[in-house]
Structures are given as structure tokens and as C-alpha cells.
């Protein structure tokens, strides 16, 4: 009674073909990721060590480690987070808790989306024009961190907004009903229950900021700067600094005769830093989902 007609059989064949095709496409996206990472680690293995991370480049960056660049990236990332996090969180609170559905809110939302889509090199031009030249900060860690902060602001706004929106409306209404003010409601109920979601956003910001090159190229990062090995406080706020991403760019294009393993190892350190931070954010997200309070 339910016999397959040739027509149905042909349709099912199309279905199987389509499915396999899509699977194949997905696999083709994943494969380069795996292959490239493996290949890079293989190429980097001769120099990859803790010593590589903790020592400074020598012989015109043709030997030695990456400590100044690693430390510089750390400085830039943490400082940009310190600038972007409060502004971004408050912007998200505004959008999710205060904003009415009017033209202003729509404009802000549009601006957030656009800010996320501005090319990084345009952010670099902005940072140069606004912070380095107009504000007179000069090329420095501060100017570069400000540029990175503006660039990563949408990441924080979007993820914070999502985690705020996940707090049920009824909680807010319950608080308003007992005479709590808006801010008391936000502080007492909304923020404590979305803070872990916000954290995910912060971590994503860190991963994004750590990998950026263009925005810091003209605002604060330099090819080479000598600092003391192992010194955690080697850079001042208004100093220029080295950065991992910039260092990778420098030794793979600007300096001749660099042994091949060196840029590979730098790339691996940068990549694994960024991916580890990203994995942390994913892990946190899974953890939050597993222990919801309501």
C-alpha cells in the first residue's frame, strides 16, 4: 500500500544528495581550520616553548622570544576592556531597561549595528584623528586602547543586552509592584541575574581586541620596543608598546631573513590565546545554561 513510486524514489534520491552536499560543504569549512592549525603548530614546534613566550626578541627580531609583544597585547586588551565594559554595559541597560520604542532607540540600535560593521582600518583612521591628533594623547597605549574600546563596544552592548533580556519581565514587574525604583530593580534583580552572561561578552571582547592589528598600528603599537624581560609593569600608559598581532605582521613582512619557525610560533601563540579565551566564553555560556535559577 505504501509502496515507493519511481517518482518518490527519485525525490528521496535528491534529498540524500542534497543532504550529503550540505554535509560536505560544512566539512569543507571545518577542514581548513583543523589543517591550518595543525600545520602551524608543526611549523612552530622548533621554537615553541615557555622560554619563547617569556624572553624578548634579539638580533633585530630574528631570534629570541615575544615577551614585550605579549605584554603589550595584555595591556591593550585589559585597558580597552576597562573602557568599553562600563560604557557598553550601561548602553545595554539603557537599551533594554529604559528605552522606549521610538526613533531614538531605533537610531541607537542602528548605530550599534553600524559600529560593528565599520572596517577596522577606518577605526584606525578615527583613532588617529580623534585620540592621537585631536585629543593630543599621541601614539600611546591609551590611544590604542581607546580605539580598540570603540571598536569592540558593539560586542559588549549586544551580548549584555541579550543577557539582560533573558531575565523575565515578571521579575521586574514584581519589583516595581512593591515600590522599588527602576535602578533598585536593575541593581537588585536584573544585574545579579545577568552578570554571568555579561562576562561572556567581556571575554569575547578580549578575544576580539587581542587579535586586532589595524586599529593599533597607527595609534600606539610599534615594531620594536625594548623592555625588561619578565617585568609585568614595563609599559606606562602613554608609552608605545609592541603587540602580538603587530609583531606577527612585522616579522612576517617587514624584517628580512627571519627564521621561518619564528613567525609561525608567534602566530600559534596569538591564535591559541584568542581561541583559549573564546573557549572560556563558550564554556561559561554552557555552564550558565546548566544552572539557571528559575
Amino acid at each position: 500500500m505504501f509502496e515507493e513510486t519511481p517518482h518518490i524514489r527519485q525525490k528521496l534520491r535528491v534529498e540524500t544528495t542534497a543532504k550529503s552536499l550540505f554535509l560536505l560543504m560544512t566539512v569543507f569549512i571545518i577542514i581548513p581550520l583543523v589543517l591550518i592549525v595543525t600545520y602551524m603548530i608543526y611549523k612552530a614546534s622548533p621554537v615553541l616553548s615557555l622560554d619563547f613566550l617569556l624572553s624578548k626578541p634579539i638580533r633585530g627580531m630574528r631570534d629570541g622570544g615575544i615577551w614585550p609583544a605579549f605584554l603589550g597585547t595584555l595591556y591593550l586588551v585589559l585597558m580597552s576592556l576597562c573602557i568599553a565594559a562600563p560604557v557598553g554595559v550601561m548602553a545595554a541597560i539603557y537599551l533594554n531597561e529604559y528605552a522606549k520604542d521610538n526613533w531614538l532607540t531605533r537610531t541607537v540600535n542602528l548605530a550599534v549595528i553600524n559600529l560593528a560593521g565599520v572596517p577596522s582600518i577606518v577605526h584606525a583612521l578615527f583613532g588617529l584623528g580623534a585620540f592621537v591628533i585631536f585629543a593630543g594623547i599621541g601614539r600611546s597605549i591609551l590611544a590604542a586602547a581607546l580605539t580598540l574600546a570603540v571598536m569592540t563596544l558593539p560586542v559588549i552592548i549586544t551580548s549584555t543586552k541579550e543577557s539582560l533580556a533573558a531575565v523575565p519581565m515578571s521579575f521586574r514587574e514584581a519589583c516595581w509592584n512593591v515600590g522599588a525604583t527602576r535602578w533598585q530593580t536593575i541593581r537588585g534583580i536584573v544585574l545579579p541575574n545577568s552578570v554571568s552572561g555579561m562576562l561572556t561578552g567581556f571575554i569575547l571582547e578580549v578575544s576580539r581586541a587581542a587579535g586586532e592589528t589595524a586599529p593599533i598600528m597607527f595609534t600606539g603599537a610599534v615594531f620594536y620596543k625594548a623592555i625588561q624581560e619578565g617585568d609585568l609593569f614595563a609599559y606606562g600608559l602613554l608609552d608605545q608598546c609592541m603587540a602580538l598581532s603587530m609583531h606577527l605582521f612585522t616579522i612576517s613582512t617587514q624584517v628580512p631573513d627571519v627564521p621561518e619557525a619564528l613567525p609561525y610560533a608567534t602566530a600559534v601563540v596569538l591564535l591559541s590565546t584568542v581561541l583559549a579565551v573564546n573557549a572560556l566564553s563558550i564554556g561559561l555560556r554552557v555552564y550558565i545554561r546548566s544552572r539557571k535559577k528559575w
Binding site: S170, F171, N177, V178, G179, Q184, K293, W294
Partner: protein, 254 residues
């Protein structure tokens, strides 16, 4: 019927969400120390009425409110201090809302928001509210566990305890029994009868018989209009003036 100065006076109240009207020029008085039952089909504007009384309608940006509402002679719609107003009115929502805080903190939330931080004052207050809401005996040993982990019926009583924590003069309940079992409903109904000694109660309900059991007077609201308001005995008898009221309480529609 006691001839008293009304606690809450509502005059020509019209509310619309965008272009959709929710209340169309409704007027009614709420007396001191009575239980006023408000019945009517879904979407007839009952919840909107409560939201206007405690001004949480402010948070719905599309809502437009016209008319006057006074609380003890003071204008509700024009008052600057909405937070104090809301503390005079306890509000219990249809679905139980345990805040993701401990049971203790749930009840202490409002007093704390009002600035009471002294544990010596909070402890007896929390105990009294939980007792009034008939929840104390069940939770007194685990006040620090999460309010959201209680059962639905318990959470609803927690919600009532929280609404009592700021010592309101009027307690509004919005279809409080919608998500809880009949036994718990009966317990809460007993609680309400006792609370009547201390405060005015506005009971919005989808259960016609609940209004009959509890209310001193009952208002029938339909489609944003007040159809009839009278003593409960009258509404539930042939003496009801409007045919629609008779039909609704007899289950012909709604």
C-alpha cells in the same frame, strides 16, 4: 452598605494601547476595608485597571491614560512619588513570581528598597508577612533557600507575603488562583478573609464563584466598560439590573 469616603475613586478612566482601547471611561469607587470583586471575561481591561492604580502602566510605553484616579483624595495619575504610592498598594500578579533570591530576601526586598536595613527590624517583619500569607510553617527552616525553587502554590503565597511586606493599605490580587491548585486556592482565600480586617482588598478574578465567596461588592467589567457594580448578593441574584451580568454569572458567556 457602609457610607464611607471611598479609599480609591476612579472617574472616567480611559486607557488605550496605541489605537486599541482597553478601558473606555470607567468609573468606580473602592471603599475602605471591603473586598471588591472584579469579574469579567478575558481581555476586558481588568489587569489594565490594576496597572493604573499602582502606576506601573508607566512602563508600557504605548499606553495612553485619561481620566482621574484618586487614592485617599490624592491624585494617583499626577503624583510625583510613585514609589511611595506603590508601597501603599500591594499587588499580586496572576502567575506566581518568586524572585531569584532567597525566601527571606524576597520578603525583605521591599523594606530594603525603602531603606530598612536593620536585621532586628527585618526579621520580625519577614516572619509576620510569611505568617499572614500562611507560608511561615512550611518555610521557616529554609529561609535562605531560593524562592524560585518553591512549588507554584508556595510561590504564590510568597508573592502575597512580599506584597504585604511594605504594609500596604490596599491589596490587589490579579487572578491569583490561575496557576495554583484548588486546595492552595482555598487556603489563600482564608488568608484574604483575615487580611480584610487590616486592609482593603481588590480581587480581580476569572472565577465567578470566588468573587461570590469572598467579595462584599462585585463589579462586572466587560469590554472596557463597567456594566454593573453592586453588593455581591445582588449581582449574583435575579436582582441584577443588567441582562449581561446575569448571563455572565450564570455562565451563558465568558
Amino acid at each position: 452598605m457602609v457610607a464611607e469616603k471611598p479609599k480609591i475613586q476612579i472617574n472616567g478612566l480611559a486607557v488605550s494601547y496605541g489605537t486599541k482601547p482597553a478601558l473606555k471611561g470607567l468609573s468606580l469607587d473602592i471603599h475602605d476595608h471591603e473586598i471588591l470583586g472584579i469579574i469579567g471575561p478575558a481581555q476586558s481591561g481588568k489587569t489594565t485597571l490594576l496597572k493604573v492604580i499602582n502606576r506601573t502602566i508607566d512602563y508600557i510605553s504605548s499606553a495612553k491614560v485619561q481620566g482621574t484616579v484618586t487614592f485617599e483624595g490624592e491624585s494617583v495619575l499626577e503624583t510625583k512619588d510613585v514609589h511611595s504610592l506603590r508601597r501603599k498598594i500591594g499587588m499580586v500578579s496572576p502567575l506566581p513570581v518568586g524572585l531569584p533570591l532567597s525566601i527571606y530576601d524576597n520578603v525583605a526586598f521591599a523594606p530594603r528598597a525603602a531603606g530598612i536595613r536593620d536585621r532586628k527590624k527585618l526579621d520580625p517583619l519577614v516572619e509576620r508577612c510569611l505568617q499572614q500569607a500562611a507560608l511561615w510553617d512550611e518555610v521557616k527552616d529554609r529561609l535562605s533557600s531560593l524562592g524560585t525553587k518553591l512549588s507554584g502554590g508556595q510561590q504564590q503565597r510568597l508573592t502575597i507575603a512580599r506584597a504585604l511586606s511594605h504594609e500596604p493599605e490596599v491589596l490587589c490580587l490579579d487572578e491569583f488562583s490561575i496557576a495554583i491548585d484548588p486546595v492552595t486556592t482555598m487556603r489563600i482565600e482564608d488568608v484574604l478573609k483575615e487580611l480584610k480586617e487590616h486592609m482593603t482588598i481588590v480581587l480581580v478574578t476569572n472565577l465567578v464563584q470566588q468573587a461570590r465567596r469572598l467579595a462584599d461588592r462585585t463589579a462586572f467589567i466587560w469590554n472596557g466598560d463597567l456594566i454593573e457594580l453592586d453588593d455581591t448578593d445582588v449581582i449574583f441574584s435575579d436582582a441584577a439590573k443588567d441582562q449581561r451580568t446575569k448571563d455572565y454569572v450564570n455562565g451563558v458567556f465568558g
